[in-house]
């Protein structure tokens, strides 16, 4: 084996080194291999970075897509119509008589106004198209306005009515400058252009979205019903899962003896945390609805099912919070002569509370986004009214999103995305709250 004749080689020969020793750095093969290894190193690092990039890219794509689709739903097209509140036509002499109000033909009043605005429209089919420009809920809209302003009876007012969803789609497309591909006929487009010239059509804030319940018509549909339903459901879940979860955590950390029964409880909790959510729905269906015959589709039952789902999360995080309390505090309290219950209630619990609250907020955030188990217990019904309590039939926001996602109208796609934005906003707020709480907690010891 030939070796390069360097000074170090001579030195090594002097000390009778065995022949297999060779200077690694002088070996060409070693150098080449080293280069390969460093290239592999760079590639490996790059894969890691690319993976993270992929995950973040998906996140960005998702948000951009939803916001892109949904932001326009916060504006709504309205058309201005001169409405003459003709007392004779409406047959109202006493504005406070609700029976008269209920029987008055507000829809007809609107049709009259349309005809007055476009006198050239003659044929019946044309007239029907014309009436369709305003939403078919406009009758209720002006009735409510009249009730709010009783002095309008007998006068003519220029009122902004919510436009039909087809008009809404058209006008928004026109505003953005993109081409319109929709169902409106040329006749309708002409009338709309006339309205544009008269400045009788505009975009304004879509308050209906936040004040109305579900509806078949996209322009009248809102998420208030779903939001209130979610609120009641979450309240039930919180009221049940927080105390029970904290109680269970306290028992497991402070009282539980080291026996088979305790192991069984712990195994069960860990398993339940991993069970798919739809199984909880089946449980709710079989036991709460079928066996106990509770009504379907009410926040109470939804809350019960979500409680069972959230309990493992709350128990696990509460246990961690309790474990984090230093034993020295417990010993000090016991040393003064406090009983076990007093040590827990007066010392451990207050110190562990921020951690427990963090876990609970996170659990509630998860419960807010749950859909599948609530589908099982019947919250898929089409419910128009805003629920008044935990025992009124209602739906929740994620289920509302699910139901709307099936609707083919373009305007519903917009509103579904906007509803998702609202849901995500709530979740972001809740999670930020939890993170802030955790940060504040970390400065403790």
């Amino acid at each position: 084996m030939t070796r390069p004749d360097t000074q170090s080689e001579q030195m090594q020969e002097n000390t009778e080194v065995p022949s297999e020793k060779r200077r690694l750095v002088d070996d060409i093969r070693f150098q080449k291999r080293l280069e390969k290894r460093y290239r592999a190193e760079k590639r490996f690092r790059l894969y890691g970075l690319l993976s993270i990039g992929f995950g973040l890219l998906c996140l960005v794509l998702l948000f951009t897509d939803i916001i892109g689709k949904g932001h326009s739903a916060f504006l709504q097209t309205e058309v201005a119509l001169d409405i003459h509140f003709d007392a004779d036509y409406l047959q109202i002499d006493d504005i406070n008589d609700s029976q008269q109000l209920n029987r008055a033909n507000f829809d007809g009043l609107i049709k009259r106004s349309w005809r007055a605005n476009f006198p050239e429209v003659k044929s019946r089919s044309d007239k029907r198209l014309l009436y369709k420009i305003s939403s078919n809920g406009s009758g209720f809209q002006i009735k409510d306005l009249l009730i709010a302003h009783p002095e309008w009876l007998g006068t003519t007012q220029t009122l902004w009515l919510i436009a039909d969803d087809d008009v809404d789609v058209y006008y928004k497309a026109k505003n953005k400058g993109i081409s319109y591909q929709g169902v409106l006929s040329d006749k309708s487009l002409n009338w709309l252009n006339a309205l544009v010239e008269e400045n009788r059509i505009e975009l304004s804030f879509n308050s209906t979205f936040f004040s109305a319940g579900d509806s078949r018509e996209p322009e009248q549909a809102g998420i208030k019903g779903a939001m209130v339903g979610s609120l009641f459901t979450l309240l039930v879940t919180l009221a049940l899962s927080f105390p029970i979860g904290v109680a269970a955590a306290i028992y497991l950390e402070e009282y539980a003896p080291n026996n088979r029964w305790t192991d069984l409880i712990e195994v069960n909790i860990n398993n339940l945390a991993a069970v798919p959510s739809i199984i909880f729905g089946l449980l709710g269906l079989a036991i709460f609805i079928n066996f106990f015959e509770l009504p379907r589709s009410i926040p109470l039952v939804g809350g019960l099912v979500l409680t069972l789902m959230t309990l493992p999360t709350i128990i696990i995080s509460s246990r961690a919070a309790i474990k984090a309390v230093p034993p020295s505090i417990r010993e000090a309290a016991l040393g003064i002569g406090a009983s076990k219950m007093q040590v827990i209630l007066h010392h451990v619990l207050p110190l562990a509370m921020p951690g427990m609250l963090t876990g609970t907020i996170i659990g509630m955030a998860q419960a807010l986004g749950e859909t599948a188990p609530l589908l099982m217990i019947g919250m898929v019904a089409f419910i128009v009214d805003i629920p008044g309590g935990a025992t009124d039939p209602s739906t929740v926001l994620p289920v509302q999103i699910f139901l709307w996602a099936d609707s083919p109208e373009r305007a519903f796609v917009e509103r579904t995305s906007a509803a998702i934005m609202v849901l995500l906003a709530f979740l972001i707020v809740m999670n930020t709250l939890a993170v802030l709480l955790r940060k504040r907690l970390e400065r403790r010891w």
Partner: protein, 270 residues
């Protein structure tokens, strides 16, 4: 007698340098963030000698040792200044490749850390990644010879496929030594290799060190003065990050020059 502190001088006493130096360190300072841990160390490690580094806990011996194969690079806040050379290569030069350096300067750690692989794979790891052998038969030879040199072959030759973590503490440490030898280093650094072992295992490893010194340069950090006395040729005494005295081992332990050294070896502080 005057207190040791008063009589301390700033310079290293004894013979820190050597004619046939494998590694030479000049004006070495080491910082952890803003705190300085090693102050102006000037030292040579001679070829094929065993240099022991002793001193009280926290005096910086391990920190210094880890500089010699740039293991301190893994600690973000650690900064090394000065000139450290392996023969004529500056090991802290910015374009120096750390990977071959560590193949030339191997390290055995305080607590045995065999990989969770088989005994064979533990020893074969180094040669494999550096591509030192090309055929399986050559690899077998390298593994066998390394295990022999580490004095472990007879005990494990029938169970090379078993996990390295299943061995006793002393065997694990010898496995780690075999692993280090397998890449053919020139210098072996040992950071308190016996502190986690029982006396019998310790004796075996000390015997191993003496055998290895015929072919390798060894720098060993140790807490035990007796161990230093048993295995080393030269001893360096560190105190609070400064190199106080370097001399032949016999001289350091029988007739130390510096007062601090004397105070340490007579047990006035530990």
């Amino acid at each position: 007698m005057e207190s040791a502190v008063e009589n301390s001088s700033q310079n290293t006493v004894g013979f820190p340098f050597s004619d046939d130096a494998k590694m030479s360190i000049r004006q070495c300072d080491v910082f952890y963030g803003d705190k300085q841990a090693i102050f102006d160390v000037n030292l040579d490690i001679g070829n094929n000698e065993v240099l022991a580094m002793i001193g009280p806990s926290g005096c910086g011996k391990s920190t210094f040792l880890r500089c010699l194969n740039r293991m301190n690079d893994t600690i973000d806040i650690c900064r090394v200044e000065g000139s450290l050379k392996l023969e004529d290569t500056d090991i802290y030069s910015p374009d120096l490749d750390v990977v071959p350096l560590r193949a030339r300067v191997g390290m055995v750690f305080q607590k045995p850390n065999p990989f969770p692989k088989s005994i064979y794979d533990n020893v074969a790891y180094g040669p494999r990644i550096h591509g030192l052998v090309s055929r399986r038969a050559e690899l077998d030879e390298v593994v066998e010879s390394s295990l022999q040199k580490a004095g472990l072959w007879n005990e494990v030759k029938d169970r090379l496929d078993e996990s390295g973590t299943g061995l006793s503490g002393g065997q694990q440490q010898r496995l780690c030594i075999a692993r280090t030898i397998a890449v053919n280093p020139e210098v072996i650094l040992m950071d308190e290799p016996c502190s986690a072992l029982d006396p019998i295992a310790t004796a075996k490893i000390e015997e191993l060190i003496t055998n290895l010194s015929e072919n390798y340069t060894i720098a060993i950090v140790t807490h035990s003065m007796q161990q230093a006395a048993r295995v080393s040729n030269r001893t360096a005494y560190f105190h609070m990050g400064k190199l106080i005295e370097v001399n032949d081992t016999e001289k350091v332990f029988t007739n130390p020059t510096h007062d601090l050294t004397e105070a340490y070896i007579t047990g006035r502080f530990g």
